[in-house]
């Protein structure tokens, strides 16, 4: 248990609990979802159950969806941390599309009202700048579990190309083919004008431009990006790449 010093008494488990209390608290503190349950959750939110670490997910997706047209050697290297996070973003978009598909499908019964999901993307809430923190997403009053298991997967399949395309662009940058990366990123923006990863695509574009020595262009794009995404991890990264701030 990793606990910084504070003004609270020692936890009961460390000091002062009876044997019975320790037994109860210890059992509850160590409870974990079964591996099967973890895998099911991961799958439902769009991450591969086989790779809760995301590098393998990107590798699989990139190889599967885009290899024929994007690039060889996709997925052999590490992915950006935000691509990892992006798998979750895919799940969000996937869920939205999944819900939409119920509306559109004449053969699929719509879920009962009690089974409909909360909006996957909560409206922004004011943050808590003093703590550098972000307030938690607010479930809607009608939010109800379970989320529609199995509905997310097909939508994620539709969206796989997005992440693969971006991964291919990243690999192209790493391989020194930044011109090719710009082509892939343009294709992404044309194909997915409201894509889940537009910020990531813009960040990659900044990086590709810098690699090509088109620094003024990169800087302009970076400044716009940082203004639009101020305070985010991605904005920090873009700032560093474009030389807006020194690392």
């Amino acid at each position: 248990m990793n606990r910084p010093l504070d003004d609270l008494p020692e936890p009961l488990l460390a000091e002062g609990a009876t044997d019975f209390e320790r037994r109860l608290l210890g059992a509850a503190a160590n409870e974990r979802p079964s591996p099967e349950m973890s895998a099911r959750m991961a799958q439902a939110i769009g991450a591969s159950a086989a790779a809760l670490g995301v590098a393998a997910v990107a590798k699989e997706l990139a190889a599967e969806a885009v290899a024929s047209k994007a690039t060889a050697g996709v997925g052999a290297t590490a992915v950006w941390p935000w691509i990892a996070a992006g798998v979750l973003g895919l799940a969000v978009a996937g869920t939205i599309i999944g819900v939409q598909s119920w509306k559109d499908s004449p053969t699929e019964p719509r879920p009962a009202a009690s089974q409909t999901m909360a909006p996957a993307v909560a409206p922004p809430l004011p943050g808590s700048p003093a703590q550098g923190n972000v307030r938690a997403a607010e479930p809607s009053a009608g939010a109800s579990v379970p989320a529609p298991r199995g509905r997310v997967a097909p939508a994620v399949g539709v969206l796989r190309e997005q992440i693969a395309l971006l991964d291919a662009a990243r690999v192209a940058i790493a391989d020194g083919s930044s011109g090719r990366a710009l082509d892939l990123l343009r294709r992404y923006q044309e194909r997915y004008p409201a894509g889940s990863f537009l910020p990531e695509a813009a960040a990659l574009k900044v990086e590709a431009l810098v690699k090509l020595g088109r620094n003024a262009e990169a800087r302009r794009l970076a400044e716009r990006f940082v203004a639009d995404h101020r305070g985010t991890v991605l904005a920090d990264r873009v700032s560093r790449i474009a030389g807006l701030v020194r690392p």
Binding site: M37, A44, V121, V134
Partner: protein
């Protein structure tokens, strides 16, 4: 993020009275909600954000979640628990005791005693003053320990019978 934090999110929901499957569903939904906010979440505050979201979700769901009503049927439930495997029974007994604790106090208790969060972390996460964390924890302990003692006495009585 999922790999690092899904267990604690799931556990936080379990301690709020959700069954394992319902907690898994709510965990899933918590991560989906978080995904929509990814650009806004600082890496060091991911855990707090997720737990906060999960607790809000549990609060939203609370009307639909049947928590054990202890005063009347604790004895009946205790006899049922004897059949469960020991560890699972201990978890259920812990939840039984937690269900006797005022929910506001129980949140602090769970985050501190079971999840090892610090006082400032809990204060930030629950958006309460630091002093309230200490006072809630003190009262939660009193309630939890009284409930645990009662459960232990009941079990002993059953063992003697």
């Amino acid at each position: 993020m999922f790999n690092d934090h899904h267990a604690i999110v799931w556990r936080a929901l379990r301690r709020r009275g959700l069954a394992p499957d319902a907690a898994a569903d709510a965990t899933q939904e918590t991560f989906l909600l978080a995904a929509g906010r990814l650009p806004d979440i600082r890496p060091e505050s991911e855990r707090a954000f997720l737990i906060q979201t999960a607790l809000r979700m549990a609060h939203t769901l609370s009307r639909k979640v049947v928590r054990w009503e202890l005063d009347e049927d604790m004895d009946k439930r205790l006899s049922g628990l004897r059949d469960a495997d020991e560890r699972r029974a201990d978890i259920q007994l812990c939840d039984l005791a937690l269900a006797r604790v005022n929910p506001e106090l129980a949140e602090v208790f769970v985050l501190y005693e079971l999840e090892g969060l610090s006082s400032p972390e809990i204060a930030a996460l629950l958006e309460i003053p630091l002093g309230s964390v200490a006072s809630r924890l003190r009262r939660a302990r009193e309630q939890f320990r009284a409930a645990a003692a009662r459960i232990e006495r009941s079990l002993r009585k059953e063992g003697e019978a």
